[in-house]
């Protein structure tokens, strides 16, 4: 029962903290650019505002368009139940499988892209096409990186990987750092940040993830944005689980859990600040240059694997 409650608490933390992480990144970015920027809690106000607004739905769209935000939120929530954040166990540790996690994200993407086409809008379909394109290129690199990350544990179960990584202590092998760089590139690509995508853009022709969301309004938009924020936290958490699993609660006990929560907050802040720094210091890439960036991630993760094998 304790484990179940811990799992539920982790799920709640991820869902509730997600807008804060987005607000934090925006704030750091603003500071780095010498602006004051919006308040750190602004994403919460935005979500609240969207939820209270009436929705306008395209006449050309079908039930796919209406159902998509709910399916996306559901799949993202299921993914959130798989990833250990504060404690090493998650709600679904027994099935907490990496491949399942990636395919849950893919399920969400599947519906978002369909909704993008559904309205008949060229912007939606264009964004959908690009979204699928980027994810197709990112997927092989992502899987090889995960293979490299999961190699010491020899399993694809997330809790066991975090367990094994925590025992390892401070990593010294060059393989680890190559894997880390590849992982960071992929997290940036998957969260739709510069240089792959620009989450703040409202110029239709450059949008990737925002393209299919263009026609959404009201509660549906709130759900989709919230889902994107949760996905971002989950990817950050995945990076933390594999590379810096320190401070995670091993069992559901009193002092361990708040300590795990504090460690989680520090890790999110660090990764978020890193993402803001990258976003501030690079320009967005052309679409057809992604293959090189993601190819670099793939090659790096292969090097990491080979180094791990040979050592």
């Amino acid at each position: 029962m304790g484990e179940f409650l811990t799992g539920l608490a982790q799920l709640a933390v991820v869902v509730l903290i997600a807008p804060l992480v987005t607000g934090f990144i925006k704030k750091i970015k603003a500071i780095l650019q010498g602006r004051q920027g919006p308040r750190i809690l602004q994403p919460y106000y935005d979500l609240y505002k969207y939820m209270r607004k009436d929705a306008v739905v395209s006449r050309e769209s079908s039930w796919i368009f209406t159902a998509t935000p709910y399916v996306v939120f559901g799949a993202t929530l299921a993914a959130a139940a798989l990833v250990p954040v504060i404690a090493r166990d998650s709600l679904l540790s027994f099935t907490g499988d990496l491949v399942l996690l990636i395919y849950l994200f893919a399920l969400a993407r599947f519906f978002i892209t369909m909704a993008g086409v559904d309205t008949g809008s060229s912007f939606g379909a264009q964004g959908a096409s690009r979204e699928m394109f980027v994810s197709s290129l990112a997927e092989p690199a992502l899987f090889v990186t995960l293979l490299a990350a999961a190699l010491p544990a020899g399993t694809t179960n997330l809790s066991m990987i975090a367990d094994r990584a925590a025992e390892r202590g401070w990593p010294t092998s060059p393989a680890f750092y190559m894997m880390l760089v590849a992982f960071a590139i992929l997290v940036i690509a998957e969260t739709g940040r510069i240089p792959v995508d620009n989450p703040d853009t409202h110029l239709e022709l450059t949008m990737i993830h925002e393209g299919p969301l263009l026609e959404y309004s009201g509660k549906a938009l709130a759900l989709l944005q919230w889902s994107a924020q949760i996905k971002q936290v989950l990817l950050f958490a995945l990076l933390a689980d594999f590379c810096f699993p320190w401070g995670m609660a091993v069992s559901a006990e009193w002092p361990a859990l708040p300590a795990g929560l504090a460690a989680f907050a520090v890790k999110m802040a660090a990764i978020g600040a890193f993402a803001a720094f990258v976003e501030m210091s690079t320009a967005k890439m052309r679409l057809f240059k992604f293959p090189r960036l993601l190819g670099a991630a793939l090659v790096l993760s292969f090097f990491a694997l080979t180094a791990e094998y040979l050592m």
């Binding site: 027994f94 369909m114 020899g154």
Partner: protein
């Protein structure tokens, strides 16, 4: 288990075919109905055989003596063939129901009884292939299957291109059969018998083993559509009537998998490592080739055929991993990889059958299988759209649909190769295979969105699409059955994975290995990881409910207004919407070194001024690279070689007689010399 269930099924197929052909005049419809009933009952019997046979009783055998000693018909059913009988029965049942509605469009101008009888004979031949117990029966059934499917594929022979497609199919499949025949004769040489049971006990020297292996890989690879032996598949599958396409892609390709596995698991001892590496590489190559070409394809049915090539590639990757583990002496990991291949075989049969039937329903309603033309069909064909969505989700391996279970198992066995492969080189091969499978999986999701979204969503792009009618009841029932099957097999992996597990426990050389792969009614897994798709699905549903609840609680009640799609202030017209070709364009650009797309842009300029164009013509296509680079040179070589001998073949009877005389004299001289 006795043989009466599958044997009865065979008899019913034949009786049904006779009924469809022999009843004429007013009784014609009755005859066809009788044929459908026979077929449906027979398919149910095949499914039952799978359920009973797989639950582990001894093999059953029936013999029918022929006129010559080697023309004995020998049928047998064991667990392994029962698994494939189940696949044949499941898709066959749906195809039978579907055809009742689908063939109506042919009434009046084509012979429907021939088509119906052909379908039944096709099913019977496929069942015979997996039930064959000796070489004669196998090759007879194999040829019957090929010939009947060729006749069915060229059913609409008056359409342009159909006869040519049929010709290429029949040539390629016979090239495959030649290799198989040679392989069988080598096995006969070492076992002293044409019976499979004796061949299983034969022991071959390593060189002969490898020779038989390569022959079997080419022979069955030609049937399975392994690149570069695939050229017939994207031609022959799309031109057939849709329920036949469903059977060809969903089921017939699996008989090649069955045959190849019979060779590798039963006839041959575990071989050297390069067998597995070869099959793994061939599978990965085939999968990537298939999915990239599917993304470039504008014809819906041909796109599905390319997707079948992709899925056969994925299947052979599983078989390759199995062979590697076998060679490395890791039977439990080999069992896991084989389970991946078997489960994926069953899953692919279900969803590809469903998608071909859906494509047929759209073809019938909208009059075109061009991906760029219909659109917006979800309003006029809501049920077809729903079932196709299930098929598309399964094809994209989305949880909780069945495609995911097979893909997960394969990922697990490739990860296992990467984690604990016996040598560093093999581990790197495992990592490469993981990357290839991930790329193929992601592109397959791209493909599924493309297939569904541009058929059913957005605005209708043709007059026919606007007035399309929903598919008839029987077609909807058939698609619905398969869609439910896709979901059920995904939620409860037990459905197929359980039968696969029991097959694994009994397969030669892998005995006692099955614990690596465990199935409970809700979960599937082994080694160190497992998945519970039903739990994930439940969680998704909870998330759905939470989404509704949270937005309502936080935001309160809001209204939904219908408005126009934002189109920069202009009214939206169908021709402004994205097309399937544009949707997958980034992939064609990124992989242009591999695909070498051919583009022609012709600008019709106004002769008076260079600044204004009167019109544009743009064409883009993927050239058939394998044909151009491999088959055409080979054909030219063959023709050039034949030209060398043209001098001998001068058409004069006297000189031919002279050749005979010369040959006779030579033989006589040779005999006397000896």
């Amino acid at each position: 288990m006795r043989l009466w269930l599958p044997g009865g099924a065979l008899a019913l197929f034949l009786a049904g075919a006779c009924a469809a052909l022999l009843f004429s005049g007013k009784a014609r419809t009755a005859g066809r109905r009788l044929a459908y009933v026979c077929s449906a009952v027979a398919c149910a019997a095949l499914i039952a055989t799978g359920a009973v046979g797989v639950s582990g009783e001894t093999a059953a055998v029936a013999r029918f003596r022929g006129a010559l000693p080697f023309t004995e018909i020998l049928l047998r059913v064991n667990d392994f063939s029962a698994f494939f009988l189940m696949i044949i029965g499941a898709v066959g049942l749906a195809a039978t129901i579907y055809s009742a509605g689908y063939v109506k469009q042919y009434e009046g101008h084509k012979s429907v009884p021939l088509l119906t009888a052909g379908m039944l004979l096709f099913l019977a031949a496929m069942a015979c292939v997996v039930m064959a117990g000796n070489v004669f029966t196998f090759l007879l059934a194999w040829e019957a299957m090929s010939v009947v499917s060729w006749l069915l594929a060229t059913y609409e022979h008056e359409r342009p291109g159909t006869q040519r497609a049929g010709f290429i199919y029949v040539v390629m499949t016979h090239i495959g059969t030649v290799f198989l025949t040679i392989a069988f004769f080598i096995l006969r040489h070492y076992s002293g018998s044409f019976e499979f049971a004796r061949m299983e006990q034969a022991s071959l020297p390593p060189s002969a083993q490898s020779l038989v292996f390569v022959l079997a890989l080419i022979g069955f690879g030609a049937k399975a559509g392994l690149v570069p032996l695939h050229i017939w598949l994207p031609r022959a599958h799309p031109v057939a009537p849709s329920h036949i396409s469903a059977l060809m892609s969903g089921v017939m390709l699996k008989t090649a998998v069955y045959g190849f596995l019979v060779f590798t698991l039963y006839f041959l001892q575990p071989g050297p490592l390069w067998w597995g590496l070869l099959v793994l590489a061939a599978g990965a190559n085939t999968a990537l080739f298939g999915v990239l070409h599917a993304l470039g394809e504008a014809d819906k049915k041909r796109m599905l055929a390319y997707s079948s090539i992709e899925n056969m590639g994925i299947l052979f990757m599983g078989i390759g991993a199995m062979l590697i583990f076998q060679a490395a002496g890791r039977p439990s990991a080999a069992a896991f990889a084989l389970a991946a291949a078997l489960v994926h075989a069953a899953n692919h049969a279900l969803f590809k059958g469903l998608l071909f039937m859906g494509a047929g329903a759209v073809l019938k309603a909208a009059g075109t299988s061009n991906m760029n033309l219909p659109g917006g069909l979800i309003r006029t064909m809501p049920w077809t759209a729903l079932f196709m969505l299930a098929g598309a989700l399964a094809m994209a391996a989305m949880p909780p649909f069945n495609g995911f279970v097979g893909e997960w198992l394969l990922f697990q066995s490739l990860f296992a190769l990467g984690f604990e492969g016996p040598t560093t080189a093999l581990r790197i091969a495992g990592a490469l295979a993981v990357a290839a499978l991930a790329l193929v999986g992601a592109l397959a999701a791209f493909l599924s969105v493309r297939l569904f979204a541009f058929t059913f969503l957005a605005l209708p792009r043709s007059e026919q699409a606007k007035e399309a009618k929903e598919a008839s009841l029987s077609m909807r029932v058939a698609m619905g059955l398969l869609a439910v099957g896709c979901l059920a097999a995904g939620l409860l992996p037990f459905v197929f994975a359980g039968s696969a597990q029991r097959v694994l426990e009994r397969i030669t050389g892998l005995a006692g290995a099955a614990p690596a792969f465990e199935v409970s009614p809700a979960a599937v897994g082994g080694g160190t990881s497992e998945i519970a798709p039903a739990a994930a699905a439940l969680l998704i549903l909870c998330g759905l409910a939470a989404a509704g609840l949270l937005t309502r609680l936080i935001g309160g009640r809001t209204r939904t207004v219908r408005g126009e799609t934002w189109n920069c202030g202009e009214p939206l017209e169908p021709r402004m919407t994205y097309t399937a070709g544009g949707f997958s364009k980034p992939v064609r650009v990124a992989f242009q070194r591999l695909l070498m797309p051919h583009r022609v842009l012709y600008v019709d300029r106004d002769p008076r001024t260079p600044y204004f164009a009167r019109g544009f013509t743009y064409a883009s296509e993927l050239p058939p690279l394998v044909e151009n680079l491999l088959y055409k040179p080979a054909m030219n070589l063959l023709v050039a070689g034949a030209r060398l001998f043209r001098g001998i073949q001068n058409g004069v009877v006297q000189s031919y007689l002279l050749y005979l005389l010369a040959t006779l004299v030579l033989i006589l001289v040779w005999r006397i010399w000896r």
